[in-house]
C-alpha cells in the first residue's frame, strides 16, 4: 500500500443539520486509523474545529436532513464551497428519525412539544425572531442540492468514512462493501 503523503492535504468541512451528532461521533470512532488520516486531511468549518464559516473544500460531510431555514442556508454554503458534497447518514439521505414528524402538521408538532406535552410548564410556543423558522416538512438533502456521494447508516460505520476519504485521495468513486453498507 502506498503511504506517500499527498502534495496537498484534503480539506474537509463537516456540519450537523437536523441530525443528532451521532454521525460525527462515528467519524471519530476510527481508533488508531485517525493517526495516518491526520497526515492526509485537514478540517475547515466543523464542530471539531469551531470554525464558523466554510471556505473552499474538497469534501463537505453533511449530517442530518433539513428541518429549518438555517439548515437550508448552511447546505447551500456547503454546496458552493465543496467539490464533493456527501450526505452522511440516514437523516441526510431520507430525513431519518426527524422526518417521522412529517406524519403531522408543523402546528401539531409545536403544540405537542410546547403546549400539551407531558410535563410542560409555562406553556408557550417559542417565537424569538433569532430562532430559525421551521420548515413544514423534514426533507433529505438531495431535494435541495446535488449530492455527490452518500454514506448510508445510522450512523455510517467509521470504515465507511475512511473509504470515502481514501476514494477522494485516489480520485475514484467510494466503494462501500456489503458489511459497511447499512441503513441502521
Amino acid at each position: 500500500m502506498n503511504h506517500s503523503v499527498p502534495a496537498r492535504k484534503v480539506r474537509v468541512a463537516t456540519c450537523s443539520l437536523a441530525g443528532c451528532f451521532g454521525c460525527h461521533m462515528s467519524f471519530l470512532d476510527m481508533d488508531e486509523a485517525i493517526v495516518p488520516l491526520i497526515e492526509t486531511i485537514e478540517f475547515d468549518r466543523s464542530p471539531l474545529t469551531d470554525i464558523k464559516t466554510v471556505s473552499q473544500c474538497d469534501i463537505g460531510l453533511v449530517e442530518g436532513g433539513l428541518c429549518n431555514e438555517e439548515n437550508r442556508e448552511v447546505l447551500h454554503q456547503f454546496r458552493q464551497h465543496c467539490t464533493y458534497l456527501v450526505a452522511v447518514g440516514a437523516c441526510a439521505i431520507n430525513g431519518g428519525v426527524p422526518a417521522m414528524r412529517n406524519h403531522f402538521s408543523l402546528q401539531e408538532c409545536l403544540e405537542e412539544s410546547y403546549l400539551n406535552g407531558i410535563g410542560v410548564v409555562d406553556a408557550q410556543i417559542p417565537s424569538d425572531p433569532e430562532l430559525p423558522a421551521l420548515l413544514p416538512k423534514v426533507t433529505p438533502l438531495q431535494t435541495e442540492v446535488k449530492i455527490d456521494f452518500f454514506l448510508p447508516g445510522c450512523p455510517p460505520p467509521a470504515a465507511a468514512f475512511l473509504e470515502l476519504i481514501q476514494a477522494v485521495l485516489e480520485n475514484r468513486e467510494p466503494q462501500l462493501n456489503y458489511t459497511i453498507r447499512r441503513f441502521d
Partner: protein, 238 residues
C-alpha cells in the same frame, strides 16, 4: 431444460422461470413471489431477458431451450431503480424499524448496492392500525406485494388482508365492518401474520430480539441465502 445465465435448469410442466430457477437453487431477486403461493407479478424485481424481451420470471412459463438472462448490468440497474422507488413510495425509517436486518426489501437494497433513494420521497400519509390485540400494522412500510392477501385467502381461507384502491392510492385493507384489523378474525397463528417480507404486519410483543450484527442479512447477502423471515427458521429457499 432452459438456460439461466448459461446454467442449465430443469423444469416441470407448468413451472414459471422463477419457480424452476428456485427449485434448482438459483436466485433471481424477488419480493412478491413466494413458492407456497400463486404468483402476483407486481414487484417486477424478478425481471429477466428472454428472446430480447424483458419479462417477469415469476409469471413467464419455463420453456425448453429458452435462453434466459438475469444477472446483467442493465437488469441489475433496473432492479436497483425499482427498489429505490419502493423506498421512496413508502416511509422507511430503518434505524427504528422492528425488522431492520431481517427485512427482504432492505436486504435486496444492500445486495444491489443502494446507498440512497434516487427519487425524492413521496412521504405518503398512511393509516396505522393497532386495533388487534396481538398484531400491529405499520402501513408506512407496506410494499403492496399482496403476500398477506394470498396467504390469508389460499392457506388461512379467511381473506382478512387485501389491497384496496388504485395506483398511488393502493393500500392494505382489512375485511371487516369498520375496516380495522381488530374487527376481523385475524389471528397470530395465521400464515398471513407470518409472511410479510417487510415490517408492516408485526407482532405487538417480542420485537427487536437480535442484536445488530447477528440478524439474518447482516453478514450473508440475500442472493446467497434467499428470501427469509426470521420466524421461518430458515426454509429451503435459495
Amino acid at each position: 431444460m432452459f438456460q439461466l445465465d448459461g446454467n442449465p435448469i430443469a423444469f416441470s410442466k407448468g413451472d414459471s422461470i422463477l419457480q424452476a430457477a428456485h427449485k434448482a437453487g438459483y436466485y433471481i431477486p424477488h419480493l412478491c413471489f413466494h413458492p407456497d403461493f400463486k404468483a402476483h407479478g407486481s414487484c417486477r424485481l424478478c425481471v429477466v431477458d428472454v428472446k430480447g424481451k424483458t419479462v417477469s420470471a415469476c409469471t413467464q412459463p419455463a420453456e425448453d431451450k429458452l435462453e434466459v438472462y438475469s444477472d446483467t448490468a442493465e437488469l441489475r440497474q433496473s432492479r436497483l431503480r425499482l427498489i429505490q422507488l419502493l423506498f421512496a413510495e413508502g416511509n422507511h425509517y430503518c434505524p427504528s424499524c422492528e425488522v431492520s436486518g431481517n427485512c427482504q426489501l432492505q436486504a435486496l437494497a444492500y445486495d444491489l448496492g443502494m446507498t440512497h433513494y434516487h427519487y425524492d420521497p413521496f412521504s405518503p400519509l398512511r393509516q396505522q392500525d393497532g386495533s388487534h390485540s396481538q398484531l400491529f400494522i405499520d402501513q408506512d412500510r407496506c410494499i403492496q406485494c399482496d403476500l398477506c392477501g394470498r396467504a390469508s385467502q389460499e392457506q388461512d381461507l379467511k381473506s382478512v388482508y387485501l389491497l384496496a384502491g388504485r395506483g398511488q392510492d393502493t393500500h392494505l385493507a382489512f375485511r371487516s365492518h369498520n375496516g380495522q384489523l381488530g374487527s376481523t378474525n385475524a389471528s397470530m397463528d395465521d400464515r398471513a401474520a407470518h409472511i410479510c417480507p417487510v415490517g408492516c404486519i408485526l407482532p405487538k410483543a417480542g420485537n427487536y430480539p437480535d442484536i445488530a450484527g447477528e440478524r439474518l442479512y447482516d453478514k450473508i447477502p440475500i442472493h446467497t441465502q434467499g428470501n427469509h423471515r426470521r420466524d421461518e427458521g430458515g426454509q429451503d429457499e435459495p
